[in-house]
């Protein structure tokens, strides 16, 4: 029996060692390390160390980093920083809050919540985060909570690699990636495009327990730190929005986590103001950001 007990930790160490040694060769299927991504998360987590006097800090998925443009808010005298990243689920938001909230010190936090994010398993966004954010111990429970071997194996490699290698420290992420252009403050602007609406199959939103628990931890953490926060759902095309058959239940559910807002604008048109079914184009962003800033953010900030 002693041999079995000795073997298990040795096997674990051996596996970790080989993953660290071979993880960079691209030959290990479940180690998917890739530095840099269209969400520019690497750039953001380094840039946020330099920013000061931030009024609003945004967290969330691509719906956050492709919607909240610091230039539009700045015109209205509000300084924001956008920490949104691709498919960011509450599991990843929690890591970012734990590690960057105290540095940025915002007056208000906005957590963007989307009907497609809460049901997500969090695997891909976990990998983006592990590869692009400086390693911290908070990433270990985040990786384990996805219950996915690809995330765990990538975490083993990324945590060691990003701690020790100079590749991570000296990486320079290009400002232009495909049709995307990074704007200081965490926003990613896409080349102007319009959407051709398509019919959608009806679907239900089934939030995962692991994401709901993570969201609960996020808001409790913000409450403990005394930072005011709201939850915000950004507009989708009307075609997509009407395809969710339990959107009202989802919104009611989000209300349990704090003050939840869904500020749709009648003026937003599916083809004129979106570049795909769930992302506003620059014309839509400018309209919506001006509206949300004036009608929601400024009044809240004035009351703090």
């Amino acid at each position: 029996m002693r041999n079995i007990i000795l073997f298990l930790p040795l096997a674990l160490l051996f596996t970790l060692l080989l993953i660290c040694l071979l993880g960079g060769t691209k030959g290990l299927r479940n180690v998917t390390y890739h530095l840099g991504h269209e969400d520019h998360l690497y750039t953001k987590v380094h840039e946020c160390l330099e920013v000061q006097d931030i009024d609003v800090l945004f967290f969330g998925s691509s719906h956050a980093y492709r919607t909240f443009d610091p230039r539009v808010f700045a015109e209205r005298g509000v300084r924001i920083f956008n920490m949104g990243s691709s498919m960011q689920t509450p599991l990843q938001t929690e890591v970012l809050i734990r590690n960057y909230l105290d540095t940025i010190k915002p007056r208000l936090v906005v957590i963007e919540v989307h009907p497609d994010v809460m049901p997500h398993d969090g695997v891909e966004p976990a990998i983006y985060q592990l590869c692009n954010v400086p390693p911290t111990w908070d990433m270990v429970p985040m990786a384990l909570r996805t219950r996915n071997m690809r995330v765990v194996a990538t975490a083993a490699y990324a945590l060691v690699h990003n701690s020790l290698s100079s590749e991570f420290r000296h990486f320079s992420e290009p400002v232009e990636v495909g049709k995307d252009h990074y704007v200081a403050g965490g926003y990613v602007e896409q080349e102007m495009d319009c959407y051709s609406p398509e019919p959608h199959q009806p679907k239900s939103i089934e939030s995962r327990g692991v994401q709901k628990r993570a969201l609960r931890r996020c808001v409790e953490l913000l409450e403990r730190k005394g930072v005011p926060y709201i939850l915000l759902e950004v507009p989708d095309t009307k075609a997509l929005l009407s395809s969710y058959d339990n959107i009202a239940y989802f919104q009611e559910d989000m209300n349990d986590y704090g003050r939840f807002y869904f500020k749709d604008m009648e003026v937003l048109d599916d083809s004129l103001h979106f570049f795909n079914e769930d992302h506003l184009n620059q014309r839509g962003v400018e309209l919506y950001d001006a509206y949300i800033c004036d009608s929601l953010i400024v009044p809240i900030l004035n009351n703090l």
Binding site: M1, N3, I4, F7, L10, A11, F14, T15, L18, I19, L28, R29, N30, V31, V123, R147, N148, M149, R150, A153
Partner: protein, 473 residues
């Protein structure tokens, strides 16, 4: 609960520890086995527990009745057989027959006829296991047990509950009736077998599934080469999936001091289809042989009866897998391959292992193995197809040109190496007690080998939980 789930990874060590803590009181230990087996099974749907408890109770009582009321033995036997097969028939086959009836007589309108019952996981496996007990008691092969707890543990023992091996009461029941002691060597061998099972399931079978599902999902989009490759990969997928499950089940049982029968014995190293059937899903094949084929006269009857018996046994075997004409066609296909061998008395030519006493096979043996594999693969195309029409169109597509999906692309690049590793290891273990039984004597080398295999599983496993194919049967 799946073997390849986090729940099982937490469940097994806890159950293992408590089980051996209870080793001094056999009754409590068996009661614990029943409780955790019901927990394991109820994880899918607690309502399924009613069925397995009903099957166990009927078979237990019929065993007692067979012994006590000798004059009415046949009533107890047939009563239990009919009740168990009725339950199986209603849950597994009723909708199929109702739909077929509607297709022929009602123009396909079967709305009012169908029950739409959920098929309980593993119902075919534990029903057959329970039936074998009653038949063996009737035949006098074993005595009826009075220990109800041991009997319930025999029917529900969690490692083999949902996909076998289908055990016989004569070998498993006495193990529950007698005291077990922890055997370190057996437990280590069990862990070794589990490790190999996980490799076959998570790396080989689930890896093949990615390619196979894509091609079988839209065969018209691909050319003959890709269809052939997908068929070959499905042969390895179903082998890796089912034999991997069996290895994990048998290995897990060994941790509890229980020995289960072997279910696979390197079937793709068979030299003809008769040998293939002695090596594939052995516990089911021998079940049908002992309880259906031999009572029908087996091969010791006239040629006409031999043909009928062979056809019946293969058709039943095919239909056991599921309520679909494709399974019947698969059984018929194998019957047609088997008949010439049995009629020419050549079905027992290869009772040894290929290349016995040699490291490598000769050219003739290689040819025989490839031909047998090819025939089995054609059978698997029928088995994998959702309908007979689909199977014919897939077989026709093998001779047409079209797009090619490379095995070395993206997600599949590791498959050739994984398949080669599996074949090489199993070749050199083909005479072993199981396919990963042989191991180097030197501990450092042995441990390095195990660690390397764990590393391969971690880095190349399919990461989404994919259920075992045979759970649906």
């Amino acid at each position: 609960m799946l073997f390849n789930s986090l729940q099982f990874a937490l469940f097994l060590p806890v159950v293992f520890l408590v089980y051996w803590l209870l080793r001094r009181t056999l009754r409590w230990q068996n009661l614990f086995v029943v409780a955790v087996s019901y927990l394991f099974y109820g994880w899918w749907n607690p309502l399924f527990l009613l069925l397995i408890a009903f099957t166990s109770l009927c078979s237990y009582l019929s065993g007692l009745g067979l012994e006590r009321y000798g004059r009415h033995r046949k009533w107890f036997l047939w009563g239990n057989v009919v009740v168990n097969l009725l339950v199986l028939g209603v849950f597994k086959y009723y909708d199929f027959f109702a739909q077929s009836f509607a297709d022929v007589f009602l123009g396909g309108q079967a709305d009012g006829l169908l029950l739409h019952l959920v098929l309980p996981v593993g119902i075919s496996f534990y029903t057959f296991q329970a039936l074998s007990y009653t038949i063996d008691v009737y035949r006098g092969t074993i005595k009826a047990t009075r220990d109800g707890v041991a009997f319930f543990a025999y029917v529900s023992f969690f490692p083999q509950l949902v996909a076998g091996p289908i055990e016989r009461a004569s070998s498993l029941l006495p193990q529950f009736e007698g005291r077990r002691s922890f055997d370190y060597a057996l437990a280590v061998d069990g862990l070794r077998q589990m490790l190999w099972g996980f490799f076959k399931k998570l790396v080989v079978a689930d890896g093949c599934a990615l390619y196979v599902d894509r091609v079988f999902g839209d065969p018209a989009a691909f050319g003959g080469g890709t269809l052939a490759l997908a068929a070959v990969l499905f042969s390895f997928q179903i082998y890796g999936d089912f034999s991997g499950y069996s290895d994990i089940a048998i290995g897990t049982a060994k941790l509890f001091g229980i020995r289960l029968r072997r279910n696979f014995n390197v079937p793709y190293f068979s030299r003809d289809i008769a040998e293939f059937w002695r090596r594939w899903h052995i516990s089911l094949t021998t079940w049908f042989r002992d309880y259906v084929y031999i009572p029908m006269g087996g091969s010791r009857v006239g040629r006409g009866r031999v043909i009928v018996n062979t056809l019946v046994i293969f058709l039943i075997s095919g239909f056991w897998h599921g309520a679909n004409w494709t399974f019947l066609a698969w059984g018929l296909f194998h019957a047609l391959l088997f008949l010439p061998l049995i009629l020419l008395h050549r079905n027992r030519r290869y009772r040894d292992t290929v290349a016995e006493g040699r490291r490598l096979p000769n050219l003739r043996e290689v040819g025989q193995m490839l031909l047998t594999f090819l025939l089995a693969t054609v059978g698997w195309i029928i088995f994998r197809s959702p309908s007979i029409g689909f199977a014919f169109s897939y077989l026709g597509g093998l001779f047409q040109q079209g797009a090619h999906l490379s095995l070395l692309a993206n997600d599949y690049f590791f498959l050739p190496a994984a398949l080669l590793l599996m074949l090489v290891v199993e070749w050199f273990n083909r005479n072993g007690e199981h396919e990963f039984a042989r191991h180097p004597r030197h501990r450092v080398v042995r441990w390095l080998g195990y660690m390397l295999l764990i590393f391969i599983v971690v880095c190349y496993m399919q990461t989404s939980e994919m259920p075992f194919i045979y759970f649906q049967f």
